[in-house]
């Protein structure tokens, strides 16, 4: 077991305790800390909390804030629930797939972007809305999406459109 994994599990155990009811919170925080939950992390959590491996995997795979595969450097979460859909969400959805170059649920081959659907993020008053990492962008239009993504690419030193 890699030392880093054990140490971070310990950190979250300290925060939430090691009783089974802490599992969801520990998985979520560990996921946030590491970007996703590797097999190694899941095993470490199971061992430390004395829970069956299947329980840990089953719970982790149930919740949408937890990812079981590595995500890109930037994660775009786009809400396509009814309020944003009515506000023109479909077009933005298609724009994002075109701009990023992968369908929803996927990560680009260069590991720069992950495109994920999300359920309502409670910013419906300014729909359509997307989140890039922790930042929220509202009132999206095709041009605005293009502009925002270009800004990230520029900051990362990655040229051109995908």
């Amino acid at each position: 077991m890699e030392k880093g994994v054990t140490a971070s599990v310990e950190k979250f155990i300290e925060r939430y305790g090691d009783s089974p009811e802490a599992l969801v919170e520990i998985l979520r925080d560990m996921n946030q800390y590491q970007g996703y939950l590797s097999r190694e992390s899941l095993t470490a959590i199971a061992q430390r909390m004395r829970l069956p491996l299947s329980t840990v995997y089953s719970v982790a795979s149930f919740y949408s804030l937890i990812s079981l595969k590595p995500l890109g450097k930037h994660v775009i979460r786009f809400c396509e629930d009814a309020p944003c859909h009515v506000a023109g969400g479909r077009e933005i959805w298609e724009t994002l797939e075109r701009e990023v170059g992968v369908p929803f649920g996927e990560t680009t081959l260069d590991g720069q972007w992950s495109l994920l659907p999300t359920s309502c993020i409670g910013a419906c008053a300014v729909g359509p809305v997307m989140m890039i990492d922790d930042d929220i962008y509202g009132n999206l239009t095709t041009d605005k999406v293009h502009e925002i993504l270009a800004r990230y690419r520029e900051a990362d030193g990655v040229g051109g459109a995908a």
Binding site: L27, V59, Y63, I66, A82, A87, C124, A125, D134
Partner: protein
Amino acid sequence: MIRATVLVSGDPLSLSRGAEETKLALEAELSFYGLEDEVQVGYTGQVTRTDILPAVIVYPEGTVYGPVTPQDGAFIVEEHLYKGRVAQKLVAPSEVSPESVVALPAVSDVLYGQQRIVLRRVGVIDPYSIEDYIAQDGYFALGRALEKMTPAEVLNTVKSSNLQGRGGAGFPTGLKWSFVATRPESVKYIVCNADESEPGTFKDRHILEGDPHAVLEGMALAGYAVGAHEGWIYIRGEYVMAKDILHRAIQQAEELNLLGDNILGSGFSFHIHLHAGAGAYICGEETALLESMEGKRGVPRIRPPYPTVYGYHGMPTVVNNVETLANVAPILLNGAEWYRGIGTKRSPGTKVYTMLGDVNVTGLIETPMGTTLHEVIEIYGGGMKNGKAFKCAQTGGSSGTIIPADLLDVPMDFASMAERGAGLGSGALLIADEDTDIVDLAYVLVRFFKTESCGKCTPCRVGTRQMLEALQRLKGGYAKKADLARLEEVANYVRSASFCGLGQAAPVPILTGLQYFREEFEAKVGS
């Protein structure tokens, strides 16, 4: 001596636009002028107009500035707080009329009779300051109840107020409490359902971010009434800021002994803990929520037994929505009769709505129960956008009903809506104009349920999939007449055979869509 309060909008969008830098600039400039002891600076999460974010509001005048850069912030301090004159060039654009910044307290008095119980402090006080809350009657109801009332009296007050659960179902809160109060177990729990996940709903987030202590006080009162000493807030995992605010609020209340052991020397102890979710709509269902709190998959439990008998860790548990709990302290403060005087006879009190869609002004409003949809659209929504005609509204988030124009004048309360087969649900009002494609709307709603189905029961797991496929064919124009008949059949069965409320609600958009706009569905057949 504090003579002024400056609030900076601190919602995620504002933060992404540099609200933190603006706040730092304000503080730096205040200390430059030696005003740091006279002017306090805090965050508020309550500005719903995004074009003015980050916004800065200066009290007591209630002047709204926005958007405010760090340089602008320094200028506001110099002009408004040091020189004492409004910095006109930075005042929020003129189109930001009072009625469009609906959640701003400075203008609440003139807001066409918005009657505020739950939102009355939201945006007015600094949510990070318990003193602000206390200064506005905060914890007064709890203190008085602990000193002068028996638990039964508290329970009876809530019972006779006819307060109904604001999570969607409208179950009488006092009755729910009494189920738990009469249980013989010595361990009981109060759980606040803050897993607000209905698309288009963000009222609970605003309450928690704007007035966290109101919820804490409501929970403590509930605990006192039913004999519980532990409370949990299950907060949606995505609500990071609200969680942070609550965390601070609990700490502050414990420091002042308004929560914790032996509250105010009364002998009553009540502790509140936070539990954040990890992304699952189904966890808003109370038994799935309890499962999730116990560290499991958020899968609904078999009922009966109900949580009031077998809840968290198998103990009697009250599960109440955020808005419900925020009503409790005002009821105890002003009496049941006062509360019954607001709203309608069958559903007293106010309701907080999030208004979205094709209206001129979108955002959060609180109005007495019984206000009609028509009034809400015209008065608070500023009418339909671009002068288009109203086609339908969807109330209560995804699980709500589609409401046609002829129900526009029905008073919105639990009973009146239920009589017409509609529901208030979570308080989301999605207003759609004449250009809206009902089949498309139903498709999006059903897709949401397919994604969020926990997969436990057959009708919901497979039925949502079948309904979505049928809608897709319909949308694509290659559905036959039989497909439409089958869609309706599946929708009816999923409604009657599903295990929990999610599955039972999933076909509602189709069923109500067919009820009011059948011809639109039929028009797509075989075209």
